[in-house]
Amino acid sequence: MRPGVYFVDGGIACAEGALYAGCRFFAGYPITPATSIVEWMAERLPQEQGYYVQMEDEIASMAAIIGASWAGGKAMTATSGPGFSLMQENLGYAYLTETPLVVVDAQRSGPSTGQATMPGQQDVMQARYGTHGDIAPIAFAPWSVQEMFDFTVHAFNYSEQFRTPVLVMADGEVSYMREPLQIPKQGALPITNRRSLTSKHPRTGEIFLRYEMPKFGDGHDLLVTGSAHRPTGVRDYSPRYHRATIHWLFEKQKEAGKALHQEGLDVESRHLDHAEAVIVSFGAAARPSYQAVLAARKTGESIGFVRLKTLWPFPEEQLARLFKDLKRIFVVEMNMGMMVREIERVGCEAQVIGIPKVGGEIHRSSEILQQIRG
């Protein structure tokens, strides 16, 4: 869509963000509440000389975007809980092969089919630990329609910059809700494009695959494998090679964490000066949380607000700094208590209190107020 202000749902915002970032390949399988992303991509991609393919399932969708990425395209898929579970094995493949791509999970209330159309935030640990083996993910958590657009653009940028899958952990609420969306002019938001191949082994002339992302069809004789491999791609199970690979994945995540912090994409804090307590939240749950903070402050309570824009890498250092002099930290999330465990690890001296909610309903700010006053 042309630059301007539109009144659309989060799914459309996400899809438009992807197109803005240069996404030209989408493989997916319909699932509520990700359908609006899927349908919008299906309509819009052909207009941009791109490809929408409806695959036979989410396993295939994930596989196809990996193939498309190695064929040179910016690629993406979008799904919800059950589909996200099916994607895990191939997502792990994408981490190990350092394939840039974006996966959107519009989380719904599970487990299993659960409350199929209703929002949840129960996949945040699946984003962190869902696939087998050690991975070091990057995962954004948008809380508005605008952020569905912005964070999808950032997700593509980080995926290209760090040659890694990046997750947008949305939820049923932010992907279905309608709000004004500002689409910026081309060039207003920076776009990271793929780095072509530069580094070759000084002696053998073999290609090293690091941040540069080569593509098929260029005569590089690429060896891409999900087995443990040497930097050249040759399968090799020796401990030293695989150890180096895994350490490298974690190193990249650390670098990404620094970049996210520099860009202000890790955490957002409001009203923290002289605050004794804070509400921490993310995604849709952060909306009533913020309302609760405003209401409490009106009655003179010294409470601040912290929102996680990225869940992974977990912004530990930044949070530790923000939490330093606090007495109480409330963690509002739409699950039985997942990110609260992470907060506990950096919670310093403060008492950490979870305000979980399941059942497919977003918290009401009055509920949150009751809990922080109780």
Partner: protein, 295 residues
Amino acid sequence: MSQQTNPLGKQQEYYRKRYLRNLPTAFCTGCGNGSILGSFVRAVDALIVEKKLRKRDILCVSGIGCSAWIPSPYFKGDTLHTTHGRAIAFATGAKIMNPKLNVVVFTGDGDGAAIGGNHLIHAARRNIPMTVFLVNNMIYGMTGGQSAPTTPLHVRSTTYQRHPEPPFDLCRLALGAGASYVARWTTFHVDDIIASMKEALLHPGFAFVEIISQCPTYAARFFNEYKDALTPKEQEQFQRSPGAWMLKALKGKRTGKELDHPRYELTLKDRTIELGVFIREERITLTETLQALWK
């Protein structure tokens, strides 16, 4: 490597240099995978010499299993060695994103017909231009001889004393699903395989070639009836290389025709398997229909 003493040494050296990475083979002695790789590079070379194919356009995609190792890491070209059963789905993304690629999938009977069966039928239905070489050794080789959906009824595997299920006819499956080129050969019929590979690589649509192959390490006993029929001298000769008499068993009986009628018939455990080209048809492809949406 003893290519010096091999009469084919020079010829092998030619293919090795151009198309293979210089790595020790991981396949067991007598395994069919080596000759399938050999057939593939010969087919590719012939097409390159005929100027019908560029090597840089070839992308080999494979799943998990011994057969998945045929191209990766041995083929010196672009290779994508993926997850178990999913090679065709990975290949679909690559082909759509860059239709210039000549995408070739190597898969096993477990990889392509059990865990990956769904991707196979949908790719056939879509008629996405790619070639699938399915190596049917009637067993799970890599994991140690467990039953596959292609294992003959009543043979012994490492999971069943008497395998209780009938095997898949994969060519019928591919035909039914809509593949526009379908052929089946065994590793015995090297010339036919090479000819069929050449056809399949140039076929403008979804091409499926099943290659019945020998896994001497885990599937030799499926061919016991053939072993029993060997002369004592042959028995002795083949003692140390079951791959050799298994190959003999894969020869089958010549019937002479193809299309509609099979070129050979192979009898295995009371089942007749037809070999030949079953369909060769031009139909609209997925890459064409997707690009038509641009207008």
